[in-house]
């Protein structure tokens, strides 16, 4: 078994808590992303799993083994760093053979393994190159090959794509995901890029200020954010200040200004009259003629090719709406009176 369990994991640097009591179960074979803004403690968490940072409190289990106090070399992990950390004094082949030599494999076995690893990462013919003769993407592949030949139980990646240009990042994103799927290796992926997390992960843990805000599938995180932070961090969201009125038919009734509308049911009890935030994604808002929904006024129209983005004033507040730019849909001009609506199930009420 190679699942990972973090139990009440804490890391403090003096007064500052970089990681605050994280508990998490990463399943065997899962691609799990830790997503969050800079400084939220993603790397610290990953480095605790790797064994480079000793937790201040809590436990780490890989499979059924407690590894909390084991040094990194005894944990049977593979880690790829942001800068790839290719040994500059060794050729590509020697880099890949490094872990195998430490494991006292025979020369013949090492040669066979290195050759097949080079084939796997598409670097046949690169054996004798050195780090300074490799592009970022190639170094990335060498780093992965070097790790994978040692057959680690878990794979840890710390922002492995952030040093690459956009086109290569896209390519590597799918390549890494595909490789991970083929190998079925439990993977923890640290990133601050939501697109990476959403496209690659089986599950995502969103972190903020050392805490796990929400753990769930990409759909959960995107469609059903549980906290205001997740809502605003993932994609763009309209956040409307509302007052909770009560419940109706399993939905929540909220009001703002002169408007009263329904939204997805709140979990738990909320006293009527309490302030809350109504969250709607721009692509879920439908614009129609006046009378079709809540009255609103177009402030600006922003043409973006496949999309047209509108800024509208709705009551006292502003919202952003995105529409697919198809030939059969009409466009709206600034100043025009329109009506807006959305599926209550596609809107979220978060109690502030």
């Amino acid at each position: 078994m190679s699942d990972i369990q973090l139990v009440n994991l804490v890391k403090s640097y003096g007064e500052m808590q970089a990681v605050k009591k994280i508990s998490l179960h990463i399943k065997e074979g899962e691609f799990f992303s830790l997503l969050g803004p800079s400084g939220c403690g993603k790397s610290t968490t990953l480095r605790m799993i790797a064994g480079f940072v000793m937790p201040s409190a809590g436990r780490i289990l890989i499979g059924s083994d407690e590894v909390t106090h084991l040094p990194p070399e005894k944990r049977d992990i593979g880690i790829v760093f942001q800068n790839y950390a290719i040994f500059p004094h060794m050729s590509v082949a020697e880099n890949i053979a490094f872990g195998l030599k430490l494991r006292k494999k025979s020369q013949a076995e090492i040669e066979i393994t290195v050759t097949s690893a080079l084939r796997q990462v598409g670097l046949v013919g690169y054996e004798d190159r050195y780090q300074r003769q490799l592009s970022g993407g190639e170094q990335q592949r060498v780093a992965l090959a070097r790790v994978l030949v040692t057959k680690p139980r878990i794979l840890l990646l710390d922002e492995p794509l952030s040093a690459l240009d956009k086109a290569l990042r896209e390519e590597m994103k799918y390549w890494i995901k595909e490789l991970q799927r083929t190998l079925g290796i439990t993977t923890v992926y640290v990133t601050h890029d939501q697109d990476e997390a959403l496209t690659m992960s089986d599950r995502i843990g969103v972190m903020q200020k050392g805490r796990l805000e929400q753990v769930g599938s990409p759909e959960d995180i995107y469609e059903r954010p549980e906290t205001l932070f997740v809502t605003t961090f993932i994609g763009h969201s309209n956040v409307i200040n509302v007052t909770v009125k009560g419940r109706d038919n399993g939905k929540t009734v909220v009001s703002f200004g002169a408007n009263t509308i329904l939204a997805r049911a709140l979990e738990g009890e909320v006293a009527p009259g309490s302030a809350a935030k109504l969250v709607v994604r721009p692509e879920n808002v439908v614009i129609g003629r006046t009378g079709e929904g809540l009255p609103a006024t177009v402030l600006t129209e922003n043409y973006q090719g496949a999309l047209v983005r509108y800024r509208l004033s709705l009551g006292e507040q502003e919202i952003v709406v995105e529409r697919q730019n198809q030939s059969n849909v009409s466009r709206f001009a600034p100043g025009e009176e329109v009506g807006v609506s959305w599926d209550p199930e596609r809107s979220e009420v978060l109690v502030a």
């Binding site: 880690i79 760093f81 004094h89 490094f98 430490l102």
Partner: protein, 267 residues
């Protein structure tokens, strides 16, 4: 702009000129050592191997050359090991004490050799540790003088050393010591050899500190040359200089063959 080089033409002229000026003393010493006249003069009165032979058969110069070589080798070995270890500690540990230590370790570079020599001399004779006028005492002096150069060169590279290389090695199964041996040490090896060359050259030519610590039976080449020139102005000293120059050049070339010095100086 012509060729691949982006260095302005004027700069290149200046650097060649500088190099030429720096090489003048070397040329003078070599020519003076090959002088056929009786006195140390320049330009030489004619060329001959007379004084080279005199050096090779000398009862003072040749042993002094050997002593200097031996002291330089031992000093280099000790300074390189101590200096590398000190550089590792100084570049990795944090805190106020370490900052103070950093200054302290580099201090002998800026301290006049006379002061170091005098201090050691007074210390040796007044404490009766049995180091006065001994080779051990002299080597200690040379280590104090040369060690900071090793520390400085090795620290310069360690500051830019990427710790994730060590971490990568650890994650691949290496113990802390193995990771250090197979990765860190290899990556910083050229700076260690550069430091070793500095230590060797400085120790071999060391004069002021040696002046205080040498004795009648402990004469290094610089001291012997100095003494000889004070009493008789004969070209044997220059001939000895030729050998000193060749030794230093040979040491540098060998070391740079072993490790890639270009990586240190060429970057």
């Amino acid at each position: 702009m012509r060729g691949e080089s982006a260095i302005p033409f004027a700069f290149r002229v200046i650097s060649w000129l500088t190099l030429a000026i720096l090489l003048i003393p070397v040329v003078i010493v070599i020519l003076a050592g090959l002088n056929s006249g009786d006195y140390l003069t320049f330009p030489p009165q004619g060329l001959s191997l007379r004084w080279v032979v005199a050096f090779l058969t000398s009862e003072t110069f040749l042993p002094a050359f050997g002593t200097s070589l031996l002291i330089a080798l031992i000093t280099t070995l000790i300074s390189t090991i101590i200096g590398t270890m000190a550089a590792l500690v100084l570049s990795r540990a944090r805190g106020r004490i370490v900052n103070a230590l950093r200054v302290l370790f580099i201090l002998p570079i800026v301290l006049p050799g006379i002061v170091v020599g005098l201090a050691l001399y007074v210390f040796y004779i007044s404490t009766d540790v049995g180091l006065a006028r001994t080779m051990a005492g002299l080597i200690i002096g040379h280590v104090i003088v040369t060690c900071p150069f090793v520390i400085a060169t090795v620290t310069a590279v360690l500051v830019g050393f990427d710790r994730s290389l060590e971490e990568a090695a650890r994650s691949l199964g290496a113990s802390p010591f193995t990771a250090f041996r197979l990765v860190t040490l290899k990556v910083i090896s050229s700076s260690i050899s550069a430091g070793a060359i500095f230590a060797f050259i400085i120790s071999f030519g060391q004069f002021e500190v040696t002046l205080f610590l040498s004795g009648p039976n402990l004469q290094t080449l610089p001291i012997t040359m100095y003494t000889a020139l004070r009493y008789s102005f004969e070209p044997t000293a220059a001939a000895a200089g030729i050998f000193a120059i060749f030794l230093v050049v040979a040491a540098t070339v060998t070391t740079s063959r072993i490790t890639d010095l270009k990586r240190i100086f060429g970057r």
